[in-house]
């Protein structure tokens, strides 16, 4: 009980003024004795210094001729770190050429890794088994190429195993607003017994054994926070149900709009907002055997305060027409309706989805509540299959990318715990 009260106590103590006479001000610019000197010039040097956005440059230039503001310099250095994703921005202040003046230098430091190996995902969910992915990345001249091996039983209602690769030039700033990304994948599919049984009774969903895709995409940064993409998804599927038609094509135009921003109210309180809308449209005109439109929207909000984090996530999706399995929605995995078995809810996925999630984290501890519904409207028979609204709760520990949790689906009077363990899961 005492441990449970600790976060609340810490929150109360953290409220300015609550801690009584022990509350005191943070570092102010005037604490630096050099704040009485005038800034003569500001230089930006080092790794990718020319890529720093115009707004940051303007803020730096506006410091010239004014008294040194070291806290503002710290904030700008942090913004550069986030914008360029670099290791450090080193601030050096030296004597100016005239008395009572100082020269400021911000040196961007980055230990460039030409090649990196990563474990993109590794996890176990007792209802679906193992999921894993590992890859290699290469950076050259502002481009990045990756190649990874995956076996993913978590994201969709299929286990997709094989290779995925990307080439991208997506480091967008205010001065460099355009990017490009090309993805390629060759995946072999395995199906759960419940899904196989459902295929036998479905008139509209096609089972495939192997698929490969190419997905070229152009990116435009309308603002540093708002990004628009347009591209195509060209997929070839091995038709295992009708061997006469050896392959099926699923070609779609893709577009997305993403708003991602961090709001820093105070240094102890930060908020993140990430909103994404995607649309895929496949038509006969693109040579596609599948004709459908898929919309999905995700909004994620997080508030961080002194070791505590509250996360809210909302997902909605809609598919009109006859979409291939990989573009149908799934609920009941490591991120949605945790604790529920996705094959029990909708063994072939669904064409409609609504999901909400609330998480509270205090340092390593986390607790979550998920609610969601998935249903399907058969495009041929027009019948609706609805699993109803489901709820689940869970607790666990999370340290950086490592997670260990137990989730409980809230069923009528029953508690069947499901265990989750993994890295980036």
């Amino acid at each position: 009980m005492f441990r449970l009260c600790l976060p609340l106590l810490a929150t109360l103590l953290a409220i300015p003024g609550f801690a009584g006479h022990d509350a005191f001000r943070g570092v102010e610019s005037s604490d630096n004795v050099n704040s009485r000197y005038t800034v003569e010039r500001v230089d930006l040097t080092g790794y990718q210094s020319t890529s720093v956005s115009r707004s940051i440059r303007q803020r730096l230039n506006s410091m010239i001729g004014r008294n040194l503001d070291s806290t503002a310099l710290d904030r700008i250095a942090r913004r550069i770190q986030e914008e360029l994703r670099v290791d450090e921005v080193h601030i050096r202040i030296g004597k100016g050429t005239r008395p009572q003046q100082v020269a400021v230098q911000l040196e961007i430091q980055h230990r460039k890794k030409a090649v990196d190996f990563n474990l993109s995902r590794l996890g176990y969910l007792s209802s679906e088994g193992w999921t894993g992915g590992a890859g290699i990345g290469v950076e050259f001249s502002g481009n990045r190429a990756t190649m990874s091996v995956i076996s993913d039983a978590d994201t969709l209602t299929e286990r997709a195993s094989g290779f995925q690769g990307t080439f991208e030039r997506t480091h967008l700033t205010r001065d460099s607003r355009f990017g490009v990304r090309v993805g390629y994948g060759a995946l072999s599919e395995q199906w759960n017994q419940e899904s196989l049984a459902a295929f036998a009774t479905s008139s509209s969903v096609v089972r495939y054994g192997f698929r490969q895709y190419v997905e070229p995409e152009f990116l435009v940064a309308i603002t540093p926070e708002l990004q628009f993409t347009v591209g195509a998804s060209l997929e070839h599927l091995e038709n295992v149900e009708a061997p006469a038609e050896r392959t099926l094509a699923s070609n779609a135009l893709t577009t997305s709009l993403r708003y991602k921003s961090r709001f820093e109210g105070t240094e102890a309180l930060t908020q993140d907002l990430d909103a994404l809308y995607t649309m895929r449209m496949a038509t006969r005109g693109l040579g596609s055997d599948f004709v459908y439109t898929r919309h999905s929207a995700t909004v994620a909000y997080a508030m961080h305060h002194l070791g505590q984090t509250v996360r809210l996530r909302w997902i909605a999706g809609l598919v009109n027409g006859n979409a291939p399995m990989y573009d149908r929605f799934a609920l009941g995995n490591s991120t949605t309706l945790r604790g529920w078995n996705k094959f029990a809810l909708a063994p072939l996925g669904g064409s409609r989805i609504v999901h909400g999630s609330v998480e509270y984290r205090y340092r390593m501890l986390e607790a979550f509540y998920d609610v969601g519904a998935i249903w399907d409207r058969d495009p041929v028979t027009r019948t609706v299959t609805d699993s109803g609204t489901k709820h689940s709760i869970g607790v666990g520990i999370r340290k950086d990318a490592l997670q260990l949790a137990v989730a409980f689906p809230l069923k009528n009077g029953r508690m069947d715990p499901v265990f989750l363990a993994g890295v980036n899961f």
Partner: protein
């Protein structure tokens, strides 16, 4: 017999020598109801910290002092203090600000800056039991530029809880930090300065 005598003398000498060194690491004395402390061998205005100061940056230095009674875990008094040190590029002297009261001193050398900080701190011994063993612990950490702790990045309010949280995390590998402990000792062992 002679060998044992030599061994005994050696052990006595080594113990005395170690105690003498240990005693110099951390000096405690009582001033009325305050326990004052100095670690004369610890120079937190030196090395990397001075390098950053000479580059015109303000460097926060944080202290946490705890006094435990009976055993090391039974902490009865805790003090957390934060000082911001900077180096005047033209005058080539140091300035230090104690954040709790916004008290400051300037035109100092590095040693004078450290002495000023020690002089500002004291932990109350008014209410501690006088007949039980005492344990004293001092932790010092300076802020590292690479870490850019959000706590100290801007002119926002922070408080006791935030500082305690700071010391509850392990220090960064390259962050200058010191930890010193003394005890058990009795209340009567503390020299009193009037």
């Amino acid at each position: 017999m002679t060998k044992r005598l030599v061994l005994l003398m050696f052990v006595s000498f080594a113990t005395g020598f170690a105690l003498a060194i240990w005693a110099e690491e951390l000096m405690l004395h009582r001033q009325e109801d305050q326990l004052r402390f100095v670690a004369p061998k610890v120079h937190f205005v030196a090395g990397r910290t001075v390098d950053r100061l000479r580059e015109g940056n303000a460097v926060p230095v944080n202290f946490q002092v705890t006094l435990a009674v009976g055993n090391r875990q039974n902490v009865v008094e805790r003090l957390v203090e934060s000082f911001v040190i900077s180096y005047d590029l033209w005058e080539e002297r140091f300035k230090v600000v104690r954040l709790r009261e916004r008290k400051s001193a300037s035109n100092l050398t590095a040693l004078q800056t450290e002495a000023w900080c020690w002089d500002q701190m004291g932990i109350s011994v008014a209410n501690i039991p006088k007949n039980q063993p005492l344990y004293f612990k001092l932790e010092i950490r300076t802020e590292d530029s690479g870490a850019r702790m959000p706590l100290f990045g801007a002119s926002d309010t922070y408080n006791l809880t935030a500082l305690i949280n700071l010391f509850s995390r392990p220090a960064e590998r390259q962050q200058p930090h010191w930890t010193m402990e003394q005890g058990p000792f009795s209340y009567g062992d503390l020299k009193q300065n009037m």
